[in-house]
Structure formats: C-alpha cells, structure tokens
Amino acid sequence: MSIEKKEFKPLIVAFCCNWCSYAGADLAGTSRLAYPAEIKIIRVPCSCRVNPMFVLRAFQRGADGVIIAGCHPGDCHYTSGNYFARRRMTMLFSMLDFFGIERERTRVDWVSAAEGVKFSTVMNDFSKKIHELGENRRLGDLRCKQTIDR
Amino acid sequence: MLQKQQLQAETIRRISGVNTRKCMKCGKCTATCPAHSEMDISPHRFVSMVENNEIDALMSSDSLWKCLSCFACVERCPRGVEPANLIEAVRVTAVRMQNRNRLLPENIPSLLNNKLPQQALVSAFRKYSK
C-alpha cells in the first residue's frame, strides 16, 4: 500500500430549492460563471424539504461540506417553507457545532433565480472554506468510506 | 470638533434611549409643544440635529431651559421617538460640563416667596444644575 499523499479533493453536496436556487444555478451556468466541480447539486422542491437527516447522511457518507440554498426569506414559492428551513438548519448547525464538527462545513444561503452571480460566488466561497478545513474526518463513517474504490 | 460632537451625540442618544432614526419628520412634537413660543430650536429640530451630530448649537440653545417636561410630545409622537427624553439628555450633557450650572444656590433667596413649594426648588435644582 502506498502512502503517497494525495491532493485533497473535497466533496460538497448542495441542496437547491427548485424555484429559486436551482434556477439561480441554471443562470450561473447560462452565464458561464464557474465554480468548482466538486459541488454537486440535488434538486428539492423547497428548502423546507431538506431533512437534517439528509445532511447527516451526506457527512456520514464522506461529504466534506453541505450547503442548502433556498429562496430569500419572504420569497418562498410556498410562502413559508424557507422560514421553517431556517429554524431547522440553525438548530442542526448549532448541534453539529456542539458535537465538535467544524462550524464552516455547513451553510445556508438564499439565492434567487436572478442571482446567478451570487450562486457562483457563494459556491466558490464555500468551496474555498472547505479546502481550508480539509477532509471531514470527524463525521465520516469509516465503513462507508472503504467502499469508495469499487 | 466634529468628532467631539459625534461622541456627544452618541452619548445623548444612549442616555436618552432615543432612536432618532425612527423620526419620520411629521412635526407633531412641535405642533404639540406648549413652550414652543419660547423656543429657538423646535423639538423636531432637536431630533434631527442630534441625528446629525449638531450638538454645539443645541448646547447653546435657549430651548434647553424652556422645555416644560410635560411629555406631550412623547405621548403624541406617532413613531415613539420621545423628544422630551432627548432634550433632557442634551440638558444633562450641558449641565454636567464645568461651570454650566444654570441655577446657583446664591440666586435662590431672591426667588423665594412664602408660597413656593419645596418641589419647585428641588425640581429646579435637578433640572438646571449638577
């Protein structure tokens, strides 16, 4: 087994609400505003669909960062979804912090369908932060990690 | 100079508890003030001058000593600005400076009459002197 040091390639999961942030990501694409390829987007109807279990699952399976993007408060397609998401994620992040998981591994941001630039900026910034933090060792589940090279 | 005024204005805003930005410049305070005829700076201008850190002019204003503390402006302000608190805060700031006591004990005897209630004296000292 070689102990060659590999370059750290983080894995970032982004949950984007269908109505604002996913469309914002589309706009970033149409405008050719680059952000790192390590960011992979999962489409959900609303930020309130994101169960904290999904975030924990991502970390458990080896994600190095998780970001949730939704409509700006007041603009939710479903009027109140992002308000619930805001409370839930605040509580989840605080709990993760309490367990000693690095605070910066999680983030919530509000990106509208018109904010392609913001989408790209937020993703670049978040990715930069995850690069600084390095690999998520504290929450990764070893059992899952081993299956990576199948 | 400007910096000094800014600091003073900050103190005034703090000790008065007044958020001058809440003022929507409707002028109801000035409309309501029973002492307005004696004032060189109207209550509504007090609010905007503190907001704009124009403290020197306020400190030398006669209005400081004309406010009756009747709270009519506080009661009627539609935005909850409390101009009377602001005027008192400026007055207090003025009085606290050296040699700025307005009412001196040596002036009292000439003001006395046998009907004057104690509270008139006490309140005058509280309002006009350190």
Partner: protein
C-alpha cells in the same frame, strides 16, 4: 385595606391641606394609610437620562420598603406619583438601571419592581369605588360646576403611567360627579401649566395658566380642582387676579373631606 403611604416633602409643608384631608377622608372611608418610615424626597423630577442612577435611589428605597412591608405604595402628589411610578417601571424593565441601582444600594433583597404604585385617585376609583363615595356624601356639592385640572404628570406618558386616557381623562370628572357636582370638560385640562419652569420663566407659566383658566371659565366652571401642589402653586401665583377671583382652585381632597363632612 391598608396602604403604605408616601406623602412627599411638599405635602408636609406648603400642601398640608392636600395631605390632611386625604388622610381623614381615607380613614372615614375605611382605608388605612401607613406612612412609610424614613421616606426621602423623590427628587420631584423623573430623571429621564438612563445614566442618572443616584437620583433614582430615594424612590427605589421607598419602593423596596413597601415591598418588604408587603403592601401597595400609595402616593398623592402628582410629581411624587410620576417619579416613583416611572422609577418602578425602570426597575421592572431596564436591566442596566436595575443592576446599577441594586449595586449602589446593595439591599438585602434586590429590588426588581415588585411593588405596585397606586395613586390616591386610583384607590378611590378602584378600591373604594365612586358609587360608595356618592352614597357617603353628606354634603353633596349639588349645582356646583367644577373643572378638573389634571396637568401632565399624572397622565403622561400613558405607556408607563397607565392612569387614564391621556387625551380624554375621566377619573376626576367621575370623582366630581360622585361629590354631587357637575364636571366641566374643557380642552386644556391636560395641557401643561408650566409649573416646572415657574422659577425660571414665569412669563411662560403665566401664559399657560391663562390659557387654562380662560378655557375653564369659558366652559362655565365655578372652581378648579387639582392633585398637584406645583400646579396649585403655579395656577395661584401666575394667574391674573381677575380670573383668580372667579375661579378658585383647591385640592381635590379638600372637597372630598368637605363632602364627607369631616
């Protein structure tokens, strides 16, 4: 029922009538007023600046003493009522003032605004009831037209004083009715008489007093009543003599005692 009673300095000297009749009337109506021992002057003006701590202490001492006695604190002078009630409110709501005051006094038990401050008129209205007074009226003032002069301190700011409708108060009018007289409603009954400024600028005070008395006379008042020694002094000293003869001004407690025939 027993209240702790805070007379204040003026009621001990220049406003004895306000005090004496209040005590006798209360006694006649079955209310016991226990004068607080060792009360100090409240300072006569409420210190609006939040960093004025020492000027709040005498009020807090009275309030804390009343709390320890387990009684409500009854006041009579408008100025004292205003100052004590507002300082009490500070102690309830302003954490910074509360901490500083308690640090200053280091009392055995910290004071947090537990005491209820009651004005004599509130006691008449809420504890005794104006109906009772009407029934007890031995010499009702039938046919008298009396104007109530509220002044500022009892009513404002309503958010803290919570005494009556600040723009259209009714407690003194109801009181006047209970005495068998007819209340005169005139628009300047809640406007300031300029009492606080009478030492500094009695010209302005005179102007304000004039506005009040003219308005009361125009609405056919025979006399004015007040609860405030400073208003009393000011209206007396700064009203022109012509109006003064037409419109005597007395403390409301004097009339109460008179009607109860004490």
């Amino acid at each position: 029922m027993t209240f702790d009673y805070y007379p204040g300095c003026t009621l001990k000297t220049k406003a004895k009538e306000l005090d004496i009749h209040a005590r006798s009337a209360a006694e006649a109506l079955g209310i016991k007023l226990e004068e607080l021992t060792d009360w100090q002057c409240c300072g006569a003006v409420y210190p609006m600046a939040k960093d004025e701590i020492a000027t709040r202490l005498s009020s807090v001492r009275a309030l804390a003493a009343s709390r320890d006695n387990g009684r409500d604190l009854l006041t009579l002078c408008s100025a004292c009522h205003h100052v004590i009630k507002r300082v009490n409110n500070d102690m309830q709501t302003d954490e910074e003032i509360r901490t500083k005051v308690n640090n200053y006094m280091s009392p055995e038990t910290e004071y947090h605004g537990e005491t209820k401050v009651v004005h004599y008129l509130e006691m008449l209205r809420d504890t005794i009831g104006f109906d009772t007074i009407r029934q007890r009226a031995v010499k009702p003032l039938t046919g008298k037209k009396i104007g109530a002069y509220y002044g500022c301190l009892l009513l404002r700011p309503n958010k803290v004083m919570a005494f009556d409708n600040p723009e259209n108060p009714t407690v003194l009018e109801d009181f006047i009715r209970a005495l068998g007289a007819e209340p005169v409603i005139y628009p300047y009954r809640n406007e300031c008489c300029g009492g606080y400024i009478s030492l500094e600028n009695n010209e302005l005070s005179a102007k304000k007093c004039d506005q009040i008395t003219v308005s009361a006379l125009e609405n056919k008042a025979d006399m004015l009543i007040t609860a405030c020694p400073l208003c009393m002094y000011n209206l007396d000293a700064n009203t022109n003599s012509e109006h003064k003869t037409k419109l005597p001004i007395v403390y409301f407690t004097e009339l109460l005692a008179q009607v109860l025939d004490i």
